[in-house]
Amino acid sequence: MIVAIASGKGGTGKTTVAVNLAFSLKDKIPVALLDCDVEEPNAHLFLMPEFTEKELVTLPVPAIDQEKCTLCGICTKVCAYHALAQVGKKILVFEELCHGCGGCSLLCPSKAITEIHKEIGFVEQGIAKGIEFIQGTLSIGSVLAPPVIKKVKSQISKDKLVIIDSPPGTSCSMINAIYGADYCVLVTEPTPFGLNDLKLAVETVRELGIPFGIVINRAGEGDHIIEKYLQEQSIPLLMKIPFDRRYAACYAEGRLLVEEFSEIRELFYNLWNAIERQVEA
């Protein structure tokens, strides 16, 4: 089973839910945690994996053999991303605009285009506190997160519970991370920002047809605004993690809440039961 932990708004507690859920379940069932927030991967800070494998993620970008090139102009015309341009008697490649679609090399009549592999990130694998741990990291300055996310997800093992820590937002990175999940947990906070971005995230998971439920993190005073929306929309509330300075301090130091607070351990067991019930239903 694949469970994705996502949110519209950043900083609501996706990673907190992902790592604490993974740790709570690891002695009961085999668990894998996939950190797909490749721009800012953070799950490793809490689970301290020992990586045993590292694989580069590359993008095939064109290289022009200027000797073979007849300056016919087809490559510059077919590139939908304006990554190729003729300047004087030369075709220039703007690698940062290239999506690696392969159109130019496929369609060049003179076979003057080959592809070179440009590094855009890497995927690491290892074990963290008994949990299989896979993480993607986007190279700094690289713009294309989805290929790195896809590479992380290609490592999914079907015989485990796979927990995906998704990037924030509702655009291509988030979609790539949660696509194909059996269930999605949306983490929010009880503020107008949290509600606004939760609504966007709800529309997104509905569009994808993934069953989902909500976790309210730092719960307290403002819960009613989220709960009212959930009631109107008949969306299940799976768990509330109350705001507590002790929890905030524990998170700040990069420690696991479930290791220090028995009441939180209880909450996460209940969360898992709620998810299982939802998936069965």
Binding site: G10, N42, Y81, G103, I140, L144, G169, T191, A248
Partner: protein, 286 residues
């Protein structure tokens, strides 16, 4: 005209709170929200929309079933896994046109997709340019560029001194678009292990740009040891910390009321935000 962009790396550290407070305190500015995925600045600035523009993203492939002879070449050449069983999954189609170019039956059309909207608005604090990206859409970087372009035009035409931008989280394409052309980047972090880790990555990204970088630590008193670690990290990097905002429940109350925290109370967070606004403007004195 000077451009100030508020970024963070990690989400949820307080970018919008800082941006809205700058908007209220720094006069003579055009305001923009470049977090087009999950735009929240409007909740504090209450813009009145004056003009709406459609944003067309990448075109998407569409197979004409009548012409398709199911040769399967399109599926073979598509590197994004967007064509399965002679149907296009528009979520994964990146609009590269390879299928369109290769189809021997000319059975594939490229169709425009409405990917979002862009708005020009008025607020109490000045003009605002913002946008909303459609659900499950890509191209947030290009939409950010359009938002910034519109803001520059308004700033030039109206003789505004600043553009203040609420940026997106992360280090990917919309962040790179937000940074390009900026004079000052204010990076808001929080005193947590994750906050520091993500700060390091966004600072490294900013090194590739001609931009003056300053750091703000939000809720610094929630974990004073971690705040000290961040301060030391910034000293080592030669980057100045120009703001330390204490945890203050008035900030949440201000957000719930839909106003910038500096207009809600004169509590400790509001005072710290005033210092940040002053320090930021001082950066342009010389």
């Amino acid at each position: 005209m000077k451009e100030i962009v508020v970024l963070s790396g990690k989400g949820g550290t307080g970018k919008t709170t800082v941006t809205a407070s700058l908007a209220a305190l720094v006069k003579d500015a055009v305001l923009t929200d470049c977090d087009v995925d999950a735009a929240d600045l409007y909740l504090l600035l209450n813009p009145e929309i004056k003009e709406t523009f459609e944003f067309l993203g990448n075109q998407k492939a569409c197979i004409n079933e009548d012409k398709c002879n199911k040769c399967g070449r399109c599926e073979k050449v598509c590197r994004f896994g967007a064509i399965i069983d002679f149907k296009v999954n528009s979520i994964f189609c990146e609009g590269c046109r390879v299928c369109y170019n290769i189809c021997p039956e000319r059975a594939i059309n490229m169709v425009d997709t409405l990917s979002g909207h862009r708005y020009i608005s008025e607020t109490r604090y000045g003009p605002m340019v913002h946008a909303s990206l459609g659900i499950a859409e890509e191209n947030s970087g290009r939409l950010v560029s359009l938002v910034k372009k519109a803001a520059r035009e308004i700033a030039q035409r109206g003789g505004y001194k600043y553009i203040i931008t609420d940026g997106p989280p992360g280090i990917g394409c919309p962040v790179i678009s937000s940074l390009s052309g900026a004079d000052v980047a204010l990076i808001v972090t929080e005193p947590t292990t994750a906050g520091l880790h993500d700060l390091e990555r966004v600072l490294k990204l900013a090194e590739n740009f001609k931009v003056t970088v300053k750091v703000i630590i939000n809720k610094f008193d929630l974990a004073e040891e971690k705040s000290k670690e961040i301060e030391q990290y910034c000293i080592d990097k030669g980057i100045e910390v120009i703001g330390r905002i204490p945890f203050d429940e008035d900030v949440v109350r201000a957000i719930s009321k839909g106003v910038p925290p500096v207009e809600y109370s004169s509590g400790p967070a509001a005072e710290a935000l005033k210092v940040i606004a002053r320090e930021t403007q001082n950066l342009f004195l010389f």
